[in-house]
Amino acid sequence: MEKSMTTEAGTTTLRTYDEINRKIESGKAVVLTAEEIIDFVDQHGLEEAAKQVDVVTTATFGPMCSSGCFLNFGHSTPRIRITEAWINDVMAYSGVAAVDVYLGATQLRHHDPANMYEVGEFRYGGGHVIEELIAGKELQLFALSYGTDEYPRRELRTYFTINDLNQAIMVNPRNCYQNYNVAVNCSAKRIYTYLGILEPHMGNMTYCSAGQLSPLLNDPWYRTIGVGTSVWLAGARGIVYAEGTQHASLAMRGENGVPQEGAGTLALTANMKEMRPEFVRGVSLKGYGVSLALGVGIPIPILDLDILKATCVRDADLYAHIVDYANDYPNRTGKTLAKVSYAQLRTGEVTLNGKTIPVSSMSSYHKAQEVAALLKDAITAGDFLLSEPSSLLPRQQGMKPLQMRGPSR
């Protein structure tokens, strides 16, 4: 090895970001997915993999509620300073500049009865508007204003596609949860949650993670995924712009250092005009609401042996905790029922307290595989360069609960 540096983790540097990017540009980078690296290391050993592999691609596809987008419509004649706006009857926030709005994934459509009459279906909302926008469909903008001297228009109704917009920038405050709860329902009645419908008496169990393919499960201590990291967001080249909301690295971790609960999160942004509609999907969760499912891919540069080892993690070594969503989750009791591996979850059955429970996933492992492969192809073809984080994500950070103050607590 020409250079020998020591990283903070105490292992020898194998290659730098610059060296990897030069290899990518010359079409010589060796890239494997987070699934392929497992078999490669099993066959050839860690040392050989360290020599050969430059980048491992990770990915996930699932509902990510904390997502949305800033849109700029351009100015009408006469001008309007929008104070209220609806896109296909879904309200967008307009407390920003004149013709900018922010549309959130979980916003319901105007007049959606929500859960007012039995259980709501939530067929259409912010996530669906975003899906249609990226699919190139024509949408309706309805906007109101109070009118000012330089923005005299007080009402506006028109139709637009993504191509008519000056900017359509996805800005997601919380994506890619490092790990997640596994949900069951211990009560005697059916419940409706963001992890799907849960039948009574532990009638079924749901989880939501790409497991061994998931970005932050392959970089448990945020060695390479940080603020400024280039990501593949639904086909567009985006970046991690901040730690995600509720980023809480002080989590329960296993002996391998990998969190067994929520833990880290990422705030992501990318240009929606470059996105692919099959990786941006509106989500309807009966009795819960609407959301947006996104495909995210993140490359991990194999800078040293520890980074490589972390990418070799497999479903059998990744655990999550089973939580009762009828009582323990809503009331924050902190109680969990058991710990279960993703390998076990993927068999479709888990036995808990003597009962065999059917298991399903809210996250699409198949789509995550597609994303990991597409990102691998883009890097191999020299179309996607890596970027070194400008700052790392916090490693010693918890999450505060909301303290209820005042007379009505």
Binding site: M205, R346, G348, V359, S360, S361, Y365, H366, Q369
Partner: protein, 140 residues
């Protein structure tokens, strides 16, 4: 001589004029057929939809269907009542734990793709309310 008994799945559409006739009764009584109705609906326009299994000898089934065809009824083989849209499916597999017959199932443990075996579907429609992507819909 023993005759092989088979079970086939049909989806029948009855226009308004035919919904008052006891067609299923006659299939049982006159054609020795065992009928297992999965789902039936008469719309506000008085059109009828019927998803059912028919069990009997191939000859009896053929005769029974010939009888049904004397009415203005549209007969479709296989399950047409629950429609799985492959393009809308995001392959999450959330439906699979809710599907009582594994008609919707994980095709293989490697790709974890969702597959649909139409002949296994009993039209309980559990998938409809469990699919976050609207990939499962009812024909009626």
């Amino acid at each position: 001589m023993t005759q092989t008994v088979i079970t086939k799945k049909y989806y029948l559409f009855f226009p308004k004029s035919e919904t008052e006739k006891p067609i299923v009764y006659n299939l049982v009584k006159n054609h020795n057929l065992i009928i297992n109705i999965f789902r039936a609906k008469v719309s506000a326009q008085e059109e009828g939809y019927l998803s059912l299994d028919i069990t009997g000898t191939p000859e009896d089934i053929a005769r029974g269907l010939a009888y049904v065809q004397t009415f203005n009824v549209t007969i479709s083989e296989m399950n047409k009542g629950m429609v799985w849209n492959r393009e809308h499916c995001a392959q999450c597999g959330n439906c699979t734990a809710h599907c009582p017959t594994q008609a919707l199932h994980v095709a293989d443990p490697v790709s974890r793709r969702v597959a649909y075996s139409e002949e296994e579907c009993i039209e309980c429609m559990a998938c409809l309310e469990n699919c976050p992507y609207g990939a499962c819909t009812s024909a009626y």
